[in-house]
Symmetry: C5
Subunit: 247 residues, 5 copies
Amino acid sequence: MNQAMKTIEGWYCLHDFRMMDWTKWKAASGQQREHALFEFKNLLKKWERIEENKQGSHSVYTVVGQKADIMFMILRPSMKDLNEVETEFSKTSLADYMKPACSYVSVIEKSSYSPMNTNPYEDPAMLSKLYPTIPKNEYVCFYPMSKLRGENTNWFMLPAEERKRLMFEHIDTGRPYTEKVKRIVTGSVGFDDYEWGVTLFCDDALQFKKLIYATRFDEVSAVYGIFGSFYIGNVLKQDRINQYFHL
Amino acid sequence: MNQAMKTIEGWYCLHDFRMMDWTKWKAASGQQREHALFEFKNLLKKWERIEENKQGSHSVYTVVGQKADIMFMILRPSMKDLNEVETEFSKTSLADYMKPACSYVSVIEKSSYSPMNTNPYEDPAMLSKLYPTIPKNEYVCFYPMSKLRGENTNWFMLPAEERKRLMFEHIDTGRPYTEKVKRIVTGSVGFDDYEWGVTLFCDDALQFKKLIYATRFDEVSAVYGIFGSFYIGNVLKQDRINQYFHL
Amino acid sequence: MNQAMKTIEGWYCLHDFRMMDWTKWKAASGQQREHALFEFKNLLKKWERIEENKQGSHSVYTVVGQKADIMFMILRPSMKDLNEVETEFSKTSLADYMKPACSYVSVIEKSSYSPMNTNPYEDPAMLSKLYPTIPKNEYVCFYPMSKLRGENTNWFMLPAEERKRLMFEHIDTGRPYTEKVKRIVTGSVGFDDYEWGVTLFCDDALQFKKLIYATRFDEVSAVYGIFGSFYIGNVLKQDRINQYFHL
Amino acid sequence: MNQAMKTIEGWYCLHDFRMMDWTKWKAASGQQREHALFEFKNLLKKWERIEENKQGSHSVYTVVGQKADIMFMILRPSMKDLNEVETEFSKTSLADYMKPACSYVSVIEKSSYSPMNTNPYEDPAMLSKLYPTIPKNEYVCFYPMSKLRGENTNWFMLPAEERKRLMFEHIDTGRPYTEKVKRIVTGSVGFDDYEWGVTLFCDDALQFKKLIYATRFDEVSAVYGIFGSFYIGNVLKQDRINQYFHL
Amino acid sequence: MNQAMKTIEGWYCLHDFRMMDWTKWKAASGQQREHALFEFKNLLKKWERIEENKQGSHSVYTVVGQKADIMFMILRPSMKDLNEVETEFSKTSLADYMKPACSYVSVIEKSSYSPMNTNPYEDPAMLSKLYPTIPKNEYVCFYPMSKLRGENTNWFMLPAEERKRLMFEHIDTGRPYTEKVKRIVTGSVGFDDYEWGVTLFCDDALQFKKLIYATRFDEVSAVYGIFGSFYIGNVLKQDRINQYFHL
């Protein structure tokens, strides 16, 4: 009968995309801009203490192209925490120069087609995946995805064994990229409009294309993959903030 | 012949989503903000008296992500009442800081594939479902849905017996969640763009995902389910209102 | 060969949806609001004289939910007349507080799968359908629709006899609602994005759902029906205008 | 092999749709409005000289419903000319009251399933079709369209002979309307999002519906036709300009 | 198994579309406009030095129709460079008059169904394709595209040999246009919402239509091609900038 795979969840995840209102930013006084940046950096410091205390993680990116200018990726222990981070940022001065563009709500999800012999919540390797520090690589790639439920071809009606076979083929294709490309897979069934979110991290943006192009020829992607919008960003670390906002 | 299932309807339902204009809220004077909140709290008090008198029910949520900031869920005896609640809120000062985002119009709907032996309007258990007080759990999950009318696969052309079998399988999958996750199902054929609205209530947001993921492997969801956008929110009770709007 | 059904057309029809800018309305002075309402009521009086003289008909509704706040339904003898009514309203002061939301352009259409033995333009019953006064019931339901032209299932490739059979089944399902629910069907091929517009009128909004849900199980709706957005409104008669716009 | 039909092209064509900002127009001073209209009429005079000199053609329409308020249809010898006309209008004062709504870019296209025995560029009848003066009928109907490339049903994979048969049937259906309804068919492969644009002209708007409804039952439309949005407008000749913009 | 084709990548590519706010431009003072153009021309000079030094390339176009007014096409060695160019332009004064419309992020991609016998990075012909100077022809045509992954017809499940056969047929159809129409094909899997971007360059806009129409009858386009929006533009060289922005 129902052959849903067992999943284990970790931190909740918000991808929050904003459009920079450069015209308004330029019209602001130097003092207003300084104040906004000062406040923003303090907020980042607060988030960094949370990250250091393993109570969550975050990363900020400048997005290439016009879908957005900034992407925040935020991990927190509860959905309510995500909501509070989002509201907290909205109340800052810098948010007056960053209009909401879009967002994605999900939760870190690990699953296995093999039975788990140990309690995953006692397995340090698993814990570091459920409650990770977001890798601070140069580039990020985010996209939401679902699996096809077509009239003839339906992922959710396949026997678990067949899904397992297809996923293993997929994992094989991605293996050469494991070292270079880090990934955080989040589940969003019930939380947002696709079934999963995929966030990839790498110092060479080309590897995202290489990896995703290679896997597109896997049966699981070619036949069952439904992909939403792709977002590509540059990490915005402390040392690049001044430069980015400087006029 | 036509095999439409018999449905019984209760209160009308409006899901009203708003975007908070934080920039405008910050630009308002302290006095303007105080006045807006005072007026809003009075409106909530009025709605609470209606709820206490069993003439309707309501709940307010802060929404996670950028689809909306606030969701009102409103139950009232007539469609006209819903329209008046909506207009009443639009006339308040706080509404000047909350732009319409989207909405969903429906009516509480109960149906049964088994014949009803008693008059449902004399059955207290049924009455409490038709005219419920919205559960005040920590989290809400709302999504609209339809059933597939594809070229080969068409829910509305299935014999009633087959639909019954599929729905019973679906109910079985959801059974382990009955205690934790409350639900209000509303019908929206003729009222809005999908056929049903599903509103789930729980103190642990993860259970929404667990439940919906499990049921996605049921034939009725996997093959016939068409899902709209998913909205996830935190209940905004009286005691959190000041904190949420505080700058 | 080509088996298009013969259609007879009456008045042209515009459904004009507007969003009320409540913030701007509240910011207006009492005098500006009074003037805007005075002018609007004069326009309505002019339209009423047209309705009394059987030169057209109109009705105004407040729409439930955020798709729109106001819907005008306007019937006029020519497409040019519709355009003029629309422009005339746009030039009023009240229009400055009502942003265009969406619209639908069509023409009253009667058709028959049976041969017509008499000249329809000499048949009083037919004339009252082609040039009707819009019923002033409490509620309205509007939706546009098309018929499927799928790869395997195509309404427009069915023999006329089969289409006739399916439509007769459809009419049978709707028969119990004929008394309660009035309807105006308009054709929009060549005028707007769907093939027909359906406007229903009733004093009990629930009957819209009952009727449309029942017919959805008819083969013609289940298999061939493509439905656009559904709009539901409350009639805004003279006596409710002051109350609706009052702050 | 590749069985693309031979096409011959004439003038380039821009359909430019604008939304009138009536609120801003009303807020303008009488002098500003007079100036804007004076400048606009001078632009029209310039365009008329171009039309008289057979260097292009144009027509202006007021559009029914909320998709747009004004449609310009512009024919010019080169794509660059179209771009210049568009920019020239954008620089006028009246354009400040007319926000861009949408547009369509194409080129007049004639094609034939029969071999052409003569040089079309020496055939006066063909030349008048490639470089036409836009008919100044009371009504216009514009829609873009493509031909289906479905998984089972694909226009572009049909043998040329079959496409020819289907198009001849289509032409037969339209024949009774040839006198009343003029048409300009433009090709837009590579220029805009559909494959063709169809612009119809008639003094009786109902004939658009009659014609398009009749042809919808042709196999070529029923099975292969993909239709975009339909726009319907009233011609705005010199003598109606003052009235339209008058407050 | 996985039959992904080997690809070689060159410079990263941003297509950046903007809407000119003519109303704001007209409202600016002559001095503000002069300053904005002076600054913009300096930026172009900087980009030209980059182009001369073979560190990238760029081209600016005025777009026909209302999808956009200006298109920047930018080639740079890294994704980060693209992001910086985009931000640099956003910080100029002219950007205050050009609202973001849309964009496309990709990378120059060369691929071959035949084995490569030489190191492509040592082949001058290949290097000039990977790191090209954008042709400065009069007209540009841009569109994104994907290959179909349908339930019965799926490009990514075809054997490599079959894909090779189809692509060779496609190349044959395009051969008569090779001289007149230059092209830059960019890959966008993982970077943007389609799989490829196609940018064509020609002095005669009609050739875009002729080429794309001819290839639409190839099996690879007819059956497997999914096309996004088409954008058509006129090159905006230094000598036309003053004229374009002049009021």
